[in-house]
Amino acid sequence: MTSGNPDRQNRPEGAQPGGALQELPCSERVAGTAFAHPSERVAAQILDFYRIRWDYEPRSFPIEWDRRGNVIAAFAPDFYLPDLDLYIELTTMSQKLVTRKNRKVRRLKELYPEINIKVFYQRDFRNLLLKYGIPVRERAHAEGGGLIAPAEDDRG
């Protein structure tokens, strides 16, 4: 058995084994969006590739108020996919932060039950990138954590 990757299941035709698919096309929209995290840029590129419209952090949902009714905590999911009426949140970070984010997502669902949201954890996202032959590097928490494609290293 030569090299193989457990996460390339159902790889699209054309995606090459061994990570030849190193960089997804970068639309003007992706290039012009200030993503908070490199993994969000890669996610946007994948959505673009599959012609799925997306908005980046289009809405912030208040999830906690003080006694006077002032918002003291809000949650802005990373993406909204209007054609699917779906919010997506990527959590490519440490387990401690994931726990905090899970709490926020739970609260969001309680307060806004009409909202559809899917959370992608680091493993899900790594699987997705590897499926498309995009090699990934796991960043140290001190560097900001999460998974990034090597091309993102060059971009800083």
């Binding site: 058995m1 054309g14 994948i46 673009d48 590739f49 012609r51 997705l128």
Partner: protein, 173 residues
């Protein structure tokens, strides 16, 4: 090499059941069975022989990003005939993220088939991004690397008569 997840007998029984259901549901208007190459070929071949209707079959292929080329997902092999007014059943070996199938369904829907449904042998729904209506589902499967019965590892192992899982060490070996 691969551990058996779904053996030949289970596959055969389930595919026969799906064939019976499809036969009943499409009794008045036999569907055009469309498969996205290449993995679905094996499932299609067995399924259509369990559909007791004069079904027709056709194929599509969808390209992923090619290194250095700009653009988006596109069809590299289209259907041979128009499908306007035709009941279409898309036959897939496996659905996971749903991204490719979502694109295929959008393309087909624009051609105004009289109906458009999905029959998937394997549904790895834990990895789904785009929720798709799967009218006929063979098996829900875990998030493991699967081979056999059309599913490949770098182009190999498609011809295994069962659906198997590979161990991590085998994949890295």
């Amino acid at each position: 090499m691969a551990s058996v997840l779904i053996d030949e007998d289970r596959l055969a029984r389930r595919i026969a059941e799906l064939g019976e259901r499809i036969t009943a549901d499409y009794a008045t208007r036999p569907p055009l069975l469309v498969t996205v190459l290449r993995g679905g070929l094996f499932f299609l071949a067995d399924l259509c022989r369990h559909i007791d209707l004069p079904v027709r079959i056709d194929f599509m292929a969808v390209s992923a990003y090619e290194h250095g080329a700009p653009g988006q997902v596109r069809i590299t092999k289209d259907l041979d005939e128009p499908i306007e007014g035709v009941p279409v059943l898309v036959v897939e070996d496996i659905i996971d993220t749903g991204l490719t199938l979502n694109y295929v369904l959008r393309v087909l829907r624009q051609r105004n088939p009289s109906s458009l449904e999905v029959c998937a042998l394997l549904d790895k729904d834990v990895r789904r991004i785009v929720d798709l209506p799967v009218a006929y589902r063979g098996f829900r499967v875990p998030d493991r690397f699967l081979v056999g019965y059309g599913l490949d590892l770098d182009g190999r192992l498609r011809a295994l008569p069962y659906v198997g899982t590979l161990r991590e060490e085998a994949l890295r070996g």
